[in-house]
């Protein structure tokens, strides 16, 4: 009988990623509803200490040198026999470059259904429902959490990082992995970001620009504004893809998550890939001419005007005072 709520822990460069805590928060909620145990799965090379603040009933730690860097092959090879021997009630992976490489593969191998783009769980009487957001955030889907086993890929946004951190160190069971035979994916090197560029994840004020910006020279307005407010400019995916800002300024799923005091979103529609990276902001002010843009559901304040007009007005205002 499948049991347990499993959470696949993600880590990079010696630290547990925020998404792992969000998943633990979600998993703990699910565990409470179902009366199941919550088990964190940690894979790596000599990183047992990372398990210290994971809020879980148990941590299964798989140790092997080949697990030093993420490889989908290595992870699948290690996890598959474990899942086969201990099928979960629910397996939660991140809707990320790590989780998405694993969740679907495992699910297909064992014939488990998959819930993608899952935001949160909720209870309706006796049943547990998943809530997913699809189509760029425009459609919400609710459904019954499949039984007996289900694989879930979770997007951040509904649970806070703090909710996934435990006060007490969990029970850690170490699995010494004998060998990894079939890893055909090897790391050559990590490509570092431009040294000397701003780390937007540490900024207190961010002036974010999106597709609503028609012209690269409108960026100057954004930079002027950011400078005046003591912050930095960042952007959503389309702006980086066009080469108007370097990749280090990308806010979103493939970029950085940010937690500024104020996030000014100019001409950003608010697709989940972007908004999931701004959930830890204190105040979001969204400026967009489309009143139906999903960003207005995330923002505390909204302005239904043209981005360039507002940036110009703000710059003028600041200059005069």
């Amino acid at each position: 009988m499948p049991s347990g709520i499993y959470v696949l822990i993600e880590h990079q460069q010696g630290a547990v990623e925020d998404i792992s805590y969000v998943m633990l928060a979600a998993g703990n909620m699910l565990a409470k509803q179902t009366g199941e145990e919550i088990i964190a799965l940690l894979l790596g090379n000599k990183i047992k200490e990372m398990a210290g603040d994971l809020k879980a009933d148990q941590v299964i730690y798989f140790d092997h040198p080949d697990l030093e860097d993420f490889s989908p092959d290595a992870y699948l090879e290690v996890l598959a026999p474990y899942i086969e021997a201990h099928p979960p009630k629910a397996f939660i992976g991140g809707h990320t470059s790590v989780g998405m490489d694993i969740v679907c593969g495992l699910a297909s191998r064992f014939g488990f259904p998959i819930i993608s783009q899952c935001q949160k769980f909720k209870t309706e009487g006796e049943t547990i429902q998943f809530v997913s957001q699809i189509c760029g955030g425009k459609i919400i889907v609710e459904g019954l959490l499949p039984e007996p086993s289900v694989m879930i890929s979770l997007v951040p946004g509904s649970y806070k990082v703090e909710q996934g951190k435990g006060d007490v160190s969990p029970d850690i069971e170490t699995v010494e992995v004998a060998e990894i035979l079939n890893n055909r994916m090897k790391l050559i090197e990590y490509v570092e970001l431009d040294a000397g560029d701003v780390d937007i994840s540490k900024e207190e004020v961010l002036v974010a620009v999106g597709r609503g910006l028609q012209n690269p020279n409108d960026l100057e307005l954004a930079q002027e504004l950011a400078g005046a407010l003591g912050g930095s400019v960042c952007g959503s995916r389309p702006v980086i893809d066009q080469g108007w800002l370097p990749a280090s300024r990308l806010v979103g799923k493939s970029g950085k998550s940010v937690s500024p005091k104020v996030y000014l979103a100019f001409g950003i529609s608010g697709a989940p890939e972007h908004t999931q990276a701004i959930t830890e902001s204190d105040i979001i002010i969204a400026i967009n001419t489309d009143p139906n843009a999903p960003i207005f559901e995330f923002a505390k304040y909204g302005v239904e005007e043209d981005a360039v007009d507002v940036m110009t007005a703000l710059n003028d205002h600041i200059m005069q005072n």
Partner: protein
């Protein structure tokens, strides 16, 4: 080509030349005297590695491949200044430059902004990527509703072709609404196509996408022929140009007039309705595709002169010498590209020209030395200085471009940019 026993395959250079000669006036390229007037009059000439003259020179030197390696053709906004000035009447804009752009485009060598506009046109029938179903949304601001062909009517006197920017862009929609009100108050039997309307494709053609233009022309022809109407009236000079000059080349013939021509025909009627005084000095900006390309200069001026209180002022670059707003034929979608290189915009030059270097009273005295003193000022000493300064436009590209340019030109603060339709509607109290 056959040189006795030697077979020489057609070079890229020769192939391009032949493609130019295939056009009705293309062979005039042979008569280029390399005077360089084209480069001199071009708004972005200084930043063009290969001006029209240099392209022709390269072709003569069998060095066309060098031209293809350069991206400078994307500085061309297809404003027709060069073609208009060329003493040899070579079709520079819509044959030479457009064909060169087509070559670049076929090779996939095209600025991203333009690519987006063209892909959007292919998919949505408009370059902005807006939903075609929302093309007629602007009519919701009016009551009673604007008649929709297809839904309400099959047959009207006037088919009003609205156009892309006039349907979707918030700044341009104001003029669209003004014109709708004028048509209604004149009792014109008209209708619009709403979501059945597709881009006329003229600017896309000038940007090199001949295939796309032909597809749109075909589509439009099919849709137009479902309805009965006596003429097309359009608020968009680009559409006007397409329907008047380009569609007939594809065998598609519909009578068409620009809205200023249409309204000028009703001038007597309109004049009676122009009740409210508009106390303004008004400079009319001749749109490239109405003025220079189609030589329509008077009807817009007739309309403006009819408005009480309006003092019509001519700018030095007027009529066929008008300065393009930068929208040109495809210039709208090369804006980021040209700005990166030139760091200035032709729309800004136009605004600089309008914002007077001298106080307005001096300008007005110079321009009309015989002006009488107005009865308004009881002391009889000072001439009546209009309280407003307005740049009047008649093309949907212009308002957004001039509004933007205003923000960067010093002294342009109180300059207003208004479409002729808006001014008329205002004076008519609509």
């Amino acid at each position: 080509m056959d040189y006795g026993n030697v077979q020489v395959s057609e070079s890229v250079n020769q192939a391009f030349m032949n493609s130019i000669f295939a056009y009705p006036n293309g062979s005039r390229m042979r008569t280029c005297i390399q005077c360089g007037t084209c480069a001199g009059v071009c708004p972005y000439g200084p930043w063009m590695e290969f001006t029209p003259r240099k392209i022709i020179h390269a072709l003569r030197m069998n060095e066309f491949e060098e031209v293809l390696k350069s991206e400078s053709v994307w500085m061309c906004i297809s404003c027709f200044a060069c073609a208009n000035a060329c003493p040899q009447e070579i079709p520079l804009t819509d044959v030479l430059m457009a064909r060169l752009k087509e070559e670049m485009l076929l090779a996939g060598n095209i600025p991203q902004e333009l690519q987006d506009a063209l892909e959007n046109t292919q998919r949505y029938g408009n370059p902005m990527g807006e939903s075609p179903r929302k093309r007629g949304e602007w009519i919701k601001a009016l009551s009673p509703a604007v008649p929709l062909l297809g839904r309400d009517h099959q047959s009207v006197d006037v088919l009003w072709y609205v156009g892309d920017y006039a349907s979707y862009h918030p700044a341009a929609i104001l003029a669209t609404i003004a014109f709708a009100k004028i048509l209604r108050v004149l009792g014109v039997d008209f209708g619009i196509l709403g979501s059945l309307e597709n881009s006329d494709g003229d600017s896309q053609r000038l940007a090199g996408e001949k295939g796309l233009f032909e597809m749109l022309a075909d589509k439009n022809a099919q849709i137009f022929s479902k309805f009965q109407f006596n003429e097309i009236v359009t608020t968009d000079p680009h559409a006007f140009n397409a329907f008047k000059n380009e569609y007939p080349k594809l065998g598609i013939n519909f009578p068409v007039r620009h809205y200023t021509q249409f309204l000028a025909d009703h001038l007597a009627e309109i004049t009676l309705m122009l009740k409210k005084e508009i106390d303004a000095a008004v400079a009319f900006h001749d749109p490239c595709y109405l003025g220079r390309v189609n030589q329509i200069y008077e009807p817009p001026r007739q309309l403006l002169r009819a408005i009480p209180g309006v003092e019509l002022v001519e700018m030095s670059h007027n009529r066929s010498n008008s300065l393009c707003c930068g929208g040109g034929g495809g210039g709208m979608w090369l804006d980021g590209y040209t700005w990166e290189i030139a760091e200035t915009r032709s729309s800004e030059w136009r605004i600089q020209e309008v914002v007077p270097a001298k106080p307005i009273e001096d300008i007005l005295t110079v321009l009309s030395p015989t002006r009488k003193v107005s009865k308004k000022n009881g002391n009889g000493k000072t001439a009546n200085i209009p309280s407003r300064r307005i740049l009047a436009v008649a093309c949907p590209y212009e308002k957004p471009r001039f509004e933007d340019a205003k923000k960067v030109v010093p002294g342009a603060g109180n300059l207003e940019v208004m479409d002729i339709a808006e001014l008329l509607a205002d004076s008519m109290g609509l």
